[in-house]
């Protein structure tokens, strides 16, 4: 028998007996996922709210991807909870002085909002498909027809007038959605930032830092997935038609990528600036816990923070994206590096915050479970994290069966 956390915690020097790394890999995944949700939505809203016409295609895709991510976002929490079957108590007896309970409500309203926006954006498609499949034969088509009829919610009016009204509502929803998305992820940051017991977490900048890096991660993942989906579609059509010479870089799509990457760079600079502001401020004020924080930041976690997060995750992709003549291949590499960087940022906050003891005179080392020995080490180990990462793509694949991800031919 062991206590939760004992299997992956190594203690050093003076640590309280009950201290372990209780918030492990799944709590790294959790802000990562909600961040991706928020970021993907903000990207899609840039088109609707701010009329960035160049983002039209990206907008539609990132909205649906945002929803796939949204469905997967609570999963890390369920994996983390020791009593997952009681997870819904958060909605039944919410204690709103807790950031987690408030997060539950915000998350729920946000899910409703995004679902509504998708409904308005895709309504014409739902109705047309429902009508097309009304008298279709075959089980697959019958099921599809049923889904579209259910999704149309009984509203079959797709006249110009009705669609114009839809457009207005979409704009409003996207407008509301941006602050709610920021609020949603700001809350994830607040969950950490408000823990006064933890010297690394407790800063009012935490929610803002989380929002910025969330937008960065969301945009990066949307761009990456968008490029990949387009490439797969092109390969498919090429295989079918067996014509068209191989293009080095796509024409129209590359413009979209370049445009989006400008927004990405913008948010990335803000995120990194805020993180450095936090670091400088801590060093300058140097209160009681700075001694141990310094040893963690500059010595123990130096590689994770300055090499993996800021170097490989921020600096290199930044240079790659702002250098002229962006190619698809370079974009893909830069985007992957950015996602690694955002993951490392979450890691350094969650695990870094627990890598020193509340005694301020001892350390805890997180030995990440690789090969699962039991259910617990599966859930909180690498395999569990990979399960979580794959979920939004599975959901996206399922959604792509009923909603086209790219523009209709």
């Amino acid at each position: 028998m062991e206590v939760h956390g004992e299997l992956w915690t190594l203690k050093e020097l003076f640590v309280y007996p009950n201290e372990y790394i209780y918030w492990a890999l799944q709590i790294v995944m959790y802000p990562l996922m909600t961040g991706l949700v928020a970021g993907a939505f903000v990207l899609s809203s840039l088109y609707h709210v701010f009329d960035r016409k160049e983002l039209k295609e990206m907008s539609r895709f990132s909205l649906i991807f945002s929803y796939a991510l949204l469905l997967a976002a609570p999963m890390p929490l369920l994996f983390h909870l020791l009593q997952p079957l009681r997870g819904f108590y958060v909605f039944l007896t919410p204690h709103f002085t807790s950031a987690i309970a408030a997060f539950g409500v915000v998350f729920f309203s946000y899910a409703g909002l995004v679902a509504s926006e998708i409904w308005f954006v895709e309504r014409r498609f739902f109705v047309q498909s429902a009508q097309r499949l009304r008298n279709a034969s075959g089980i697959a088509n019958k099921v599809k027809g049923f889904i579209y009829r259910a999704w149309s919610l009984g509203a079959y009016d797709i006249s110009e007038e009705a669609l114009r009204k839809d457009g207005k509502v979409i704009r409003v929803l996207a407008g509301i959605g941006v602050p709610v998305a920021c609020f949603l992820h700001g809350y994830a940051g607040f969950i950490f930032g408000s823990v006064k017991a933890n010297a690394l977490w407790m800063t009012p900048l935490m929610p803002v830092i989380f929002i910025m890096s969330a937008i960065v991660s969301g945009i990066a993942l949307c761009m990456l997935t968008y490029i990949i989906v387009l490439e797969i579609n092109r390969l498919k059509s090429k295989r079918m038609k067996k014509l068209l010479p191989l293009e080095e870089s796509g024409g129209v799509e590359m413009d979209i990528i370049k445009m989006t990457s400008k927004y990405l760079v913008f948010f990335m600079v803000i995120a990194v600036t805020l993180e450095f502001l936090d670091l400088v401020f801590r060093g300058y004020t140097a209160v009681k816990h700075w001694d141990i924080l310094r040893t963690v930041i500059y010595e123990r976690d130096f590689f994770n923070i300055f090499i993996l997060q800021y170097g490989i995750g921020n600096l290199i992709p930044l240079v790659m994206l702002i250098m002229p003549g962006l190619t698809k291949r370079r974009a893909i590499i830069a985007l992957i590096l950015i996602l690694i960087g955002v993951f490392m940022m979450r890691w350094n906050v969650v695990v870094g915050g627990q890598s020193f003891s509340l005694t301020l005179s001892g350390y805890m080392h997180y030995k990440i479970p690789i090969i699962p020995q039991n259910f617990e080490t599966y859930k909180e180990g690498i395999i569990g994290a990979l399960t979580i990462i794959s979920l939004p793509f599975i959901f996206l694949w399922i959604l792509s069966k009923v909603i086209p991800l790219t523009k209709e031919e």
Binding site: M1, E2, V3, H4, G5, E6, L13, F14, Y16, P17, N18, E19, Y20, Y22, W23, L77, H80, L81, L82, Q83, P84, R86, G87, Y89, V90, L92, T93, P94, H95, F96, T97, S98, A99, I100, A101, A102, G104, I191, S194, V195, K196, A197, N198, K288, S357, L358, T359, L360, S361
Partner: protein
């Protein structure tokens, strides 16, 4: 609805975060209607010899698996060398006592020791418990007599309370898989008994008391002598007071 009620409800529902503390939750007691018990605890570190019988008794009394290295109460050892080095440890929470002069595994010659002492720790039953504030479902709460309890049937096991406690007293119960911590042996003190750790201590280092009872000797010591609490800077207002505090105590 009166204006005050309206404000009160609005603040509760709307903001939630920390605002309820300014709403005057002590209306009843300040009006002198009732004076409920308010449990406090006094630790006399001068008297602790590091035998660990308190930790042993606590584990047996409160059904915390004996060989799992988590515990509701524990005893820390501090050995300060003449060169200023502080060696502190608490292997297995001091469950088996301290038999060898080897803090952190380092044998310290007697002539090198500037000072050395033991510090028993337990849940501080804070007046403003951060663990309760952050529980998302209301599974941990403060009773009217000031003890913080965990509802084992309602805890979802998120660990937020464990993270929020500045004293590191909370952990996951290895069997029940919910948050667990010292509750001053609530089942004993509500029957007029003393906590298991106090009964087990031969040297009188631990004492439960009622701060609202002027005749109680523990309340008297806390009110009339120089006592200290741990980590005052967090604003948690602990109910565990220490005699013989030292700034090296973590």
């Amino acid at each position: 609805m009166s204006r005050r009620d309206f404000l009160k409800t609005g603040l509760m529902v709307g903001a939630g975060l920390g605002l309820s503390s300014i709403l005057g939750k002590d209306i009843l007691s300040s009006a002198g209607i009732i004076t409920p018990k308010r449990w406090v605890f006094l630790v006399d570190t001068f008297k602790c010899v590091g035998c660990g019988l308190c930790v042993r008794a606590c584990k047996l009394e409160n059904e915390i698996p004996y060989d799992v290295p988590v515990t509701r109460t524990w005893v820390e050892r501090y050995v300060v060398k003449k060169d200023g080095t502080v060696l502190a440890d608490s292997p297995y929470g001091g469950r088996d006592g301290y038999l060898i002069n080897n803090p952190q595994g380092i044998v310290v010659p007697q002539e090198d020791i500037a000072k050395a002492f033991f510090v028993p720790k337990l849940c501080n039953q804070c007046t403003n418990p951060p663990c309760v504030q952050v529980c998302p479902v209301g599974a941990t709460y403060q009773t009217n007599d000031g003890v913080v309890l965990v509802d084992r049937k309602w805890c979802i096991g998120c660990g937020y309370c464990i993270m929020a406690c500045p004293y590191g007293v909370r952990f996951f119960h290895p069997v029940h898989k919910v948050a667990e911590k010292c509750n001053f042996c609530y089942h004993r003190i509500t029957k007029g008994m003393k906590p298991a750790c106090e009964d087990a201590c031969p040297f009188g280092a631990r004492h439960i008391g009622d701060i609202n009872d002027p005749a109680h000797p523990v309340a008297d010591i806390i009110k009339t002598q120089r006592v200290s609490v741990l980590k005052d800077e967090f604003g948690t207002k602990p109910s565990v007071y220490y005699l013989g505090y030292d700034s090296l105590i973590r």
